[in-house]
């Protein structure tokens, strides 16, 4: 359902050339959740952007069954218009994602309920607290019932309770034959959800295997050894 073949991509030239992707290849079937761990600057965001079709790689190919319309993206940017209400935002994005007009409104309401912000539907996004705004951003990502979820550091800024809620939501979404790719620099966050684990360092996958029976501590350990740096440290920004 999702595949990457020989992806290579670099930014800049000469002295400032940064290799973000170095021969990355893998494929995922429905039901798989890949957690990619790597320090900042390892190329995780670039990989997700290539998968989403935001960046055309210098070499190689990425294919997602269903194209852009099948992808739900949660990243650093909110994708929400501050001066529109939550519902207006959702309806706008639903229209762009070709959700049939007849069911747009009901889908929006359902998604708002799913995220627990139905009571904020008519509130302008700029007036929402950070946590609620983040939930609205997640609602936007899910409005079109995407088969593929690409999540770039989705736990950033979430407090413990919100993070737990998000994990629970992800667990529910994982089931229905979706593919989830989750990139994070924090091993603890994504491990429990993952069916497969990859470590990315300086653009390459230095590890890619099913999680199997490994727990967070074990994976954190392997990560440290494979990547050679402590969690949270890194080079330049992605």
């Amino acid at each position: 359902m999702l595949s990457a073949e020989g992806l290579r991509h670099a930014f800049g030239t000469g002295g400032e050339r940064v290799v973000a992707l170095d021969n990355v290849s893998f494929s995922l079937e429905a039901g798989q959740t890949l957690a990619i761990f790597g320090p900042n600057g390892a190329g995780k965001t670039t990989l997700l952007k290539v998968l989403a079709g935001l960046i055309r790689p210098d070499a190689g190919r990425a294919t997602v069954a269903g194209g852009r319309g099948a992808i739900g993206w949660i990243g650093h940017q909110s994708h929400l218009y501050g001066h529109l209400t939550v519902r207006e935002n959702l309806l706008f994005w639903a229209a762009l994602y070709a959700v049939p007009a007849a069911i747009r409104a009901s889908r929006a309401d359902a998604t708002l309920r799913q995220l627990g912000i139905a009571d904020r539907a008519e509130q302008a996004v700029w007036s929402l607290s950070r946590g609620l705004a983040q939930r609205a951003a997640i609602a936007k990502a899910l409005i079109h019932d995407p088969r593929v979820l690409l999540l770039d550091e989705p736990f950033t800024g979430l407090d413990l309770a919100a993070a737990a809620e998000f994990r629970a939501l992800l667990a529910r979404l994982q089931g229905a034959g979706r593919v989830v790719v989750l990139a994070t620099h924090n091993v603890g966050e994504g491990v429990a959800l993952a069916t497969d684990v990859a470590f990315q360092r300086r653009g390459r996958f230095v590890h890619f295997a099913p999680r199997g029976a490994r727990g967070p501590a074990q994976i954190a350990d392997e990560y440290r050894r494979a990547v050679g740096e402590r969690e949270g440290e890194g080079e330049a920004d992605d």
């Binding site: 930014f11 030239t13 002295g15």
Partner: protein, 223 residues
């Protein structure tokens, strides 16, 4: 011989020949009846304008090719051509007033050629400014290509606008280079000058291109 050296030799040859054109124009070409000695700058003025046009045409062409093929060489060539074009436009814009003053009594006239070259100059400057404002090379090449193509498409509209404008407001008539009324030896001087300027264009662009290559290579070494 490296590319830069080749370029240097061509440019040098061009400059030598340019001196020859000067001499021929000043000493061996007859005086134009109505305009006198000041008219002689025409032999530099017109070919310089032509070279600027050539430069712009090639920027446009390379831009199109770059967007189709994404080969960095086209981008490099377009950038080199734009810089050389800027220089030639500037030459033309400074010789123009020097010619206009003794003949028309004014430093500047909005005649077709001067106006077109002024626009070329603005387009080149805009192109170079855009390049300067975008750091990432892939993005820079793409953006420049878009601007380059737009600039090329703009030229016929500028030409048409100026032509329409002038038919309403007749301005000093400028000698047309291919006018059949140009006597033999003047035509020869002019044609030679065209050839020399084209040679200069090739020489300068080659050098500039080589310089760009060198800079990129140096950058890679430092990586």
């Amino acid at each position: 011989m490296s590319l830069a050296q080749k370029g240097r030799w061509i440019a040098l040859l061009g400059l030598v020949l340019l001196a020859g054109v000067y001499v021929r124009a000043l000493a061996f070409t007859p005086l134009e009846r109505f305009q006198g000695p000041a008219q002689k700058i025409f032999y530099l003025h017109v070919p310089a304008a032509w070279s600027a046009m050539l430069a712009m045409g090639l920027v446009g062409l390379c831009s199109i090719l770059y967007l189709i093929v994404k080969d960095a060489r086209f981008d490099r060539f377009a950038a080199a051509s734009a810089e050389v074009g800027t220089a030639f436009s500037l030459v033309m814009l400074t010789t123009g007033p020097i010619w206009a003053k003794p003949i028309w009594g004014t430093w500047w006239t909005w005649d077709a050629r001067l106006t077109l070259t002024l626009f070329l100059f603005f387009l080149f400057i805009g192109y170079l400014l855009l390049r300067g404002a975008v750091a990432e090379p892939g993005l820079r090449a793409r953006y420049s290509a878009v601007l380059g193509i737009c600039g090329l498409v703009l030229l016929p509209f500028i030409h048409l606008s100026v032509y329409l404008f002038r038919t309403l407001h007749p301005q000093p008539i400028v000698l047309k280079p291919s006018s059949p009324s140009l006597p033999g030896s003047m035509l020869v001087t002019l044609l030679v000058s065209f050839a020399v300027f084209t040679l200069l264009y090739v020489g300068f662009v080659t050098q500039r291109y080589a310089l760009a290559l060198l800079r990129e290579a140096q950058g890679r070494e430092h990586a």
